[in-house]
Amino acid sequence: MSYPLQPQQVQPPPILATQALTKVFDGLVALDAVSIEVRQGEILGIIGPNGAGKTTLFNLITGIIPVTKGHVQFLGKVITGLSTHRIATMGIARTFQNIRLFRRMTVSENVLVGRHYRGNAGLVSALVRSGATRREETRLRLEIQRYLEMVGLADKADMPAGALTTGQQRLLEIARALAAAPQIILLDEPAAGLNTKETQSLAEFIQRLPRELNTTVNLIEHDMRLVMDVSDRVVVIDRGRKIADGTPAAVQRDPQVIAAYLGGDFVNGEWMDASELEGRKP
């Protein structure tokens, strides 16, 4: 006797998954057998004390550093060991904790580079400025307008990126990542250096992404209120291991998570306590 499965009980396969992902640097275990699944269209928050290995996780997924053990799967395909640019063209985009913009290039040029692999013009056709190249250039410039407008930088399109404020730079980096029209975007501490108002706008912006741009979001953040507000699910990483995985509410009550933040060890010289968990900045 089998009942037909209720529709909401059938989970689509995760679009991104890591299996026992491990990274060892010269004897230091940065990430220890971390397995995560990211479902299509969700916003997954990743939190944890400083130095827990969150950015390392992003670096492994995007192929910037090699994996020691374990695998990464994206859209059903194993992407472990592929080059960074190849992974990017498959549909994973990211921003960086320490903002890696092309400061000497203009705002629109930054976003155009973000859309690099949606274009085709090669060296030779660029040198001669063929008709096809010119048409593609016009098309690309039109297409990025949307992303510039989404982050409110359309009026600053010709400014050098280095001249923007921190908040604007973070938005530009996000626009650059979105310009690739990726399946999933990995945001690494996008709220760092933003004030309360900017963080609020950012939160609203992030929440629009899955619906408006059909983009799944992975979000590393220290700002607890932001993470708990926008995330559908939260993963907690402490000292390289995943210690919790669930809804924001569940994770906040998880004793292991509380212990990790309240724990007797100093992490990077910082004492993280429960007030962090409630969203107040240290």
């Binding site: 080059s83 960074t84 580079v113 690099h116 060296l123 660029a126 040198l127």
Partner: protein, 330 residues
């Protein structure tokens, strides 16, 4: 703004001077001036390519004279030994140089900074040694004589004014092409990877391939210039194709400003004119003749000290903009 007006005036004046200089040798029917112009043009073609490599892709090459020499020697050998006419010889020579650049460029992809500099320095020396030693092919230190002037079909560039126009045309074409590149998708990818290879990769730029492409392109430009040199001077020997010339190219690019298209051209012009001036004065004033190296060295140091960011960025610096290549290279 008065300042911006001043900057624009300087830029307009610069262009006017440029065109004047270009026309003068022809107007004055001066073979000497035209010859200087030819050398400026040939050096500029190499310098523009090297500027692309250094200013946009952020790579360094201390051995670019090798590609210049490869172009010169292949044109020389193919026209004098195999009887090819100059244009197909240049094309073939450029292809050979491109292949060698591809082979030499691949290991450089993993190198940065001083390691890259050393590697390029080393292959520059190796190639010049081959020019010196492979006597059956290159006639060693005696060099190859009797190289015909450049010709395209029945059109022979056998007088100085004609050669001058040829070099100008090639230079103009090179600058046109490089300008197109800089503002295009691959050009942006280059400028991006100069600032952050990781960020560029994450945007889908195939960084190693882009670096290799620009490396080969700069080698091709150097090779074409080398061929023009061979057909103009009608003689090649290993001497001009060593570290000395690689350094001169470096100076042209850095002093002129690596991050712009016109910078290397200005650098080439300044450098060539200065060395010509010192040479000519040295012929007349004995003191200068024995001290020309010293004077040149001192001028070089002085110029570098007072113009750290190069000449061509002067108008934009007056405007207060950020210059395109703040560190002109590495």
């Amino acid at each position: 703004m008065t300042l911006s007006l001043l900057a624009r005036a300087i830029r307009a004046a610069g262009l006017a001077i440029f065109f004047a200089f270009v026309a003068i040798p022809l107007l004055l029917h001066s073979a000497y001036l035209a010859t200087v112009g030819i050398f400026i043009g040939i050096h500029a073609i190499v310098a523009v390519g090297l500027g692309l490599l250094m200013g946009y892709a952020g790579q360094v090459s201390l051995g670019h004279a090798a590609f210049y020499g490869l172009g010169a020697y292949s044109s020389a050998i193919l026209t004098t030994r195999l009887g090819l006419s100059p244009l197909p010889a240049m094309v073939a020579g450029t292809a050979i140089t491109a292949i060698i650049a591809l082979i030499l460029g691949t290991p450089t992809l993993r190198l940065h900074g001083h390691y890259l500099a050393m590697f390029t320095l080393a292959f520059g020396i190796i190639i010049q040694t081959i020019f010196n030693q492979a006597e059956r092919l290159t006639r060693g230190t005696s060099g190859i004589v009797g190289i015909p002037p450049f010709s395209i079909g029945p059109l022979r560039f056998d007088t100085v004014p004609k050669a001058y126009l040829l070099v100008l045309a090639v230079l103009a074409l090179s600058i046109f092409a490089v300008r197109n590149l800089v503002n295009s998708r691959p050009g942006r990818a280059l400028r991006a990877l100069h600032e952050s290879e990781v960020a560029a990769s994450v945007c889908g730029v195939d960084v190693p391939r882009a670096k290799l492409e620009v490396f080969v392109l700069s080698a091709i430009l150097a090779s074409v210039a080398g061929s023009l040199y061979a057909h103009f001077v009608n003689y090649v020997s290993p001497v001009p194709f060593g570290f000395g010339f690689s350094v001169q190219l470096l100076v042209m690019v850095v002093v002129g400003g690596a991050g712009s298209v016109w910078g290397p051209l200005a650098g080439a012009a300044l450098f060539t004119v200065l060395s010509q001036f010192l040479q000519k004065t040295g012929e007349r004033i004995a003191f200068v003749g024995t001290t020309d190296t010293i004077l040149f060295g001192m001028v070089l140091v002085a110029v570098v000290i007072f113009l750290q960011k190069g000449l061509v960025s002067l108008p934009s610096r007056l405007r207060g903009e950020a210059t395109p290549a703040e560190d002109s290279g590495i």
